[in-house]
Amino acid sequence: MTQYRVLPGPEHFLPPSAASMGICLPNPGEAHINGVIVPEEKAYEEAAKQFLMAKVPTLFPGPLVLWAWNEKAAKKATAIRHLYNTLKECVQPGQTPMLIPMPDYRPKYPKINPEVEINPNHPNLTIWHNKIDCCMFIGVHCHQANLSLKIIRGGTSCYTIAMCAQAGHEDAMLSFRDASVEKIMRLADTVKRLKGTVTPRLTSAKNGA
């Protein structure tokens, strides 16, 4: 049993992959928080709390949900928009939810415009520039999501959540697996239910630095 925990960084000049430190992915019906396997119900609560505590809670939708390449993707996109709107409704003054897409995975040089997009090859730029202290990846291919999550953990203090359509991400601080429209809606419902019960860390936030 590993003692390693997947925590907000900045962790290291080159942080290890969580898998190499013995963190395992959840089985169906489970999620993980900080690398510890938990029932999925607990993860909804924790993810919603993290969103409501954050100064800049942000959703990062990826290519798998940004284009209506099948019916399921279109429905997920609508659910993500609903989650974003729910965040805007539920946060307190001073909190600024954001929705920033990861439209593709091209290495972009000399640098991206971090206000309009996030890129898996240098995701920390978007985190730093927008002072994002909690984010959720959704609809990003697993490989690129893991690249991003590791780099973010290495160089920022941002709390990372993954809503993965496949097996989950151990490099996130919290990860769901088998993402579906229902799961996204359930997360939005949990955010709504916890509205006003969580104190935002407006003064203490490190703002992703």
Binding site: S17, A19, P107, Y109, H141, H143, Q166, E170
Partner: protein, 403 residues
């Protein structure tokens, strides 16, 4: 969009039924058949719903490659052709896999070495290609005989590497291998190795699954990277790689990419354990003397154990099935009681003994040998002799005939 589960129970163009792989491999009736290893590769491929097989002749895999050509002629393989060289074959395999195909190829010895540049590329691109490696000598002067040195070169490519002992392993693992390597959290190529000739060219009884059942097709939409897209990594990375940019973040991205490949190898652990019933197999690990090996050296070890039993010497066995992922925990547990760990190998460098020494406490317990190479056989008697020497018992020299 393909949905693997929706095709279960339906038939392919050859009348085979797409079958839940777990049921096919573990519950379906088996038919004992007397086949060479090469014929077994063909029979596994018949059931693998393989889209593309690319071939290039090199002993001792040529027969298997040719037999799979017959499968193509019969309509069991989507496409089949001969590449210009092993390097070309492995590059063409990448192209087919980038396009979303289930891909299979076979190679051996110098062919493996010639194509080596492609293997870390396959891993980095997260392509779940399956490659059979029928190991043979790689050095000059030329040898086509069994020798496992090429496996050592594969261990750091980021591929999954399994080492089959028997033709039965081969049949089962070809089919199960796709189930592991195509998992979205793994999605890596598999080098399924065996000792050439010993496995490929000898006949053995192999229990085959029904020929009218086949694997569900590969679903490329579960891939952790996009299918072929010239503007996105990994393809764009290859023509516009991070290494061409001299800045911290491009290096850091490449480092993170490499870590992700090895993270995927780690993730394959639980799937591999599930499908091939553990990364190792053990017998009598409470014995003071243990033989730990992989491939056909395990078979020779079994025979040595039988000979030792006749003399009242108790010896245990650890068969290493998967080299990547490496069964470190399992080996530490299995060897915790052993005073002497014997590692017979069919190669000159003893790469397996080195791996084991790096894994266990008190590594001076490891006896790196006996080793043979260049196609020599490994008589069980030399393993027996090695063990008796370690135990301080008298043993006859097997090297000469004059004593």
């Amino acid at each position: 969009m393909a949905d693997t589960h929706s095709v279960i129970g339906t038939k392919n163009k050859k009348g085979q039924t797409f079958t839940d792989t777990w049921k096919m491999m573990n519950e379906a009736p088996r038919t004992p058949s007397f086949y060479t290893g090469s014929e077994v590769i063909k029979e596994a491929l018949r059931r693998a719903s393989c889209d593309v097989m690319i071939a290039y002749p090199i002993t001792p895999q040529s027969e298997a490659a040719a037999l799979i050509g017959e499968l193509f002629a019969e309509g069991y393989i989507g496409d089949y052709f001969r590449g210009e060289s092993e390097f070309a074959v492995m590059s063409q395999c990448a192209g087919a896999a980038f396009g979303g195909a289930r891909v299979f190829t076979t190679t051996a010895g110098p062919g493996t070495m010639r194509a080596m540049e492609n293997f870390p590329m396959w891993s980095g691109a997260r392509l779940p290609i399956q490659m059979i490696v029928t190991c043979r000598g790689i050095n000059s002067p030329l040898s086509i005989q069994p020798d496992t040195l090429e496996i050592a070169y594969l261990l750091n490519t980021g591929m999954l590497v399994w080492h089959a002992e028997t033709a039965q392993d081969f049949f089962d693992w070809i089919l199960k291998g796709y189930m592991v390597s195509e998992e979205p959290d793994v999605h890596l190529p598999l080098a399924l190795c065996c000792d050439g000739f010993f496995v490929t060219h000898t006949k053995d009884v192999v229990n085959l699954t029904p020929a009218d059942m086949c694997l569900p097709p590969y679903d490329p939409y579960r891939s952790p990277v996009p299918c072929m897209d010239m503007e996105c990594p990994p393809v764009r990375m290859m023509r516009d790689p991070f290494v061409m940019k001299s800045n911290y973040i491009s290096y850091a991205t490449h480092a993170s990419w490499q870590q992700e490949v090895w993270a995927a190898v780690e993730r394959s652990r639980k799937h591999t354990i599930k499908w091939i019933n553990g990364l190792i197999e053990t017998e009598n690990t409470d014995a003071e003397v243990l033989i730990v090996s992989s491939g056909t050296a395990v078979s020779q070890g079994r025979e040595a154990i039988r000979l030792l039993e006749d003399e009242g010497i108790r010896c245990g066995l650890v068969k290493i099935k998967s080299l990547r992922p490496w069964p470190g925990e399992e080996i530490r547990e299995a060897t915790k009681n052993a005073k002497h760990i014997i590692v017979p190998e069919f190669n000159v460098t003893g790469w397996l003994a080195k791996e084991i020494k790096a894994t266990i406490p008190n590594s001076d317990r490891v006896n790196a040998g006996p080793r043979v190479c260049g196609g020599m056989t490994m008589p069980p008697e030399i393993i027996v002799s090695e063990i008796k020497n370690l135990l301080g018992m008298r043993t006859m020299s097997l090297a000469g005939r004059g004593s």
